[in-house]
Symmetry: C2
Subunit: 356 residues, 2 copies
């Protein structure tokens, strides 16, 4: 064990340029501050954002970049003032590693919307205290301020817990915000990492869940995930039959598309929540909105809500469907992800990095 | 007085073609059905929709068309089963004269969203029972099913009451839907017929009201109407200072525009309500929505809510600022309305039609 004042040389995988792919590199984790936790990472989920950031698709990447914000592991050491965690604890880190903790949003447990320069991202961000770049979970270990380290409930398996930290909370938060519960009618558009969690979570909350897809091939998948119904959005008659039917459309589609057909499916005061980063949303005819249809979005969740979600999943036995891969398969995994060839989330077994 | 089974030849003003302007014509009001009320119209407000419909701007006009859906008057006769109204009562008709009264929306006092073929519009629509065209308030009298006739409270002056039937309820309804009350921070964009009522109504509900405008010239008007603040939307620094400040932006702007700057003004879970018919809304960056900003719309209000609004206005002494004109000045009024040269609503004195 290194002492708290020393830095930790750490094996990682990252990108050095938009076209470099993701490969082995060594990074340095800071020595523990008084309120820091050192975590040995056991697993890290792979999110679409990882791929977009590695390739600089959003034009905001600072290289070298180590992606990964669906992180689980065990506590290996703690700073002297840490009270929330002990060595050996099963813990997790999501999309955030710090925030101001003082603004109105942080006070309201909405750290993801911190107004003081924004929350600090788990990667491609800058440490609030020393300005050093943050690096994500494609690595052996990570150091993080204790408040941003969550607890993994005992009965959640580690590998399956990883995707909950981004895909899970991103679907969970809007369901809670809009008070989805027994009897609610929820439609989920897009059956990927987020969407498949949306189906499971909404069903566990007691909602009647319908999967929306252009492709009839998803009907069987929808049923397996616990959806009560399937609606083929290419079938105009079927779509018309559900006009005004849903309380919520959880729209997880990660590419630019027209949101209008989903607005038509909403009851009065029903809400379409966008959770995918689709940049510019195509024009919408306001006549539809004037029928009191609500269009909004939601971004991940705060720390308290993320912990609540982990406990909800543990209590209801909900885990994502995952495919575990070794670290060195990352570039192939990205290719398959782009081809939607994964049901439904890749998770990296970080033991493969230590051995590699 | 004609008997209940006879029709009523009626002086009116209407358009016969998109470029005809609005001129005198004679129409026939049906003889009273058992549940009908005959109303001698005293005043009719002028709404932008009148102008758009007269000119077929929306491509849905059937000629000849008699506009007008902000109607007040006195009951002149009643059908044999009418119980809600008596001869001599001060009454009003808004945008609707009928609906199915049986669907889920009608049952929920949301007749404006009737799902059985839609509610019957006061003009440019078809009577549900005999298919005859409906004609609006630019006329001496109107016949309407008793449930769609509202009561004008005693202390509301008739001329001023007229614009409440469309401009008033259109602003009132979203304020109620989104629970605006004491302490709420409401911004009103667009200071016309709807917007100026939005300011007065929101202030009467106890909200802190800010008028948004590109033009500094509106600052004084805003204050006169009872707004607590004015925000010049051309002033980038001022706009930035109100980022995340408002619970609601009531957007009454009646022409196509980018709604993005108003989304930035909303707090988390704050709502921008569009009430103007602006057809296609320009593209919006979904990154803003992902900060839990809500975009929606609202269309007039149901019968019960419209009655409630009339009583709210009577109780709080709220009336629109109007300019009364004679019927034959209608085309000039349209021109001035298009030039935003009215503070804030034209109302036709229908006595001028009887005399003309």
């Amino acid at each position: 064990m290194t002492t708290a004042t020393n830095e930790y040389p750490t094996k990682a995988y990252g990108a050095t340029a938009p076209d470099s792919g993701v490969g082995p590199m060594e990074i340095v984790r800071r020595g523990l501050r008084h309120d820091d936790v050192l975590i040995d990472i056991t697993h890290c989920g792979i999110c679409h954002s990882d791929l977009h950031t590695a390739r600089n698709d959003w034009g905001r990447t600072t290289y070298p970049i180590v992606p990964g914000h669906e992180i689980v592991g065990t506590v290996a050491a703690i700073g002297e003032s840490v009270t929330r965690h002990e060595v050996g604890d099963r813990v997790a880190i999501g999309c955030l590693v710090d925030s101001c903790m003082e603004c109105k949003h942080c006070d309201a447990d909405l750290e993801q919307y911190c107004v003081e320069g924004g929350a600090t991202g788990t990667y491609n961000s800058k440490d609030r205290r020393d300005g050093s770049p943050t690096h994500g979970g494609y690595s052996e270990r990570i150091v993080c301020r204790e408040e941003f380290v969550l607890k993994v409930p005992d009965n959640l398996p580690m590998a399956e817990a990883a995707p909950l930290l981004c895909a899970g909370i991103t679907s969970y938060s809007p369901l809670k915000t809009w008070k989805i519960g027994p009897g609610s009618k929820v439609a989920v558009a897009g059956l990927g990492g987020l969407g498949h969690m949306g189906v499971k979570l909404a069903a566990a909350m007691g909602a009647e869940v319908t999967v929306l897809s252009r492709s009839e091939s998803k009907r069987e998948d929808a049923e397996k995930l616990g959806a009560h119904d399937f609606l083929n959005t290419s079938d105009k008659t079927a779509m018309k039959g559900k006009t005004g039917y849903f309380d919520m459309v959880l729209n997880t589609i990660p590419v630019r598309h027209d949101v209008t057909p989903y607005l038509h499916l909403l009851r009065i005061d029903g809400v379409q929540v966008l959770v995918g980063m689709i940049d510019m949303m195509p024009e919408v005819h306001t006549g539809i909105l004037l029928g009191r249809k609500v269009l909004t979005g939601s971004g991940i969740g705060g720390l308290a809500e993320t912990q609540e979600m982990l406990e909800f999943c543990a209590e209801h036995g909900i885990v994502p469907d995952i495919e575990v891969i070794p670290m060195h398969d990352i570039n192939h995994a990205y290719e398959r992800m782009e081809a939607s060839d994964v049901k439904y989330r890749f998770v990296i077994d970080m033991e493969s990095l230590r051995e590699g």
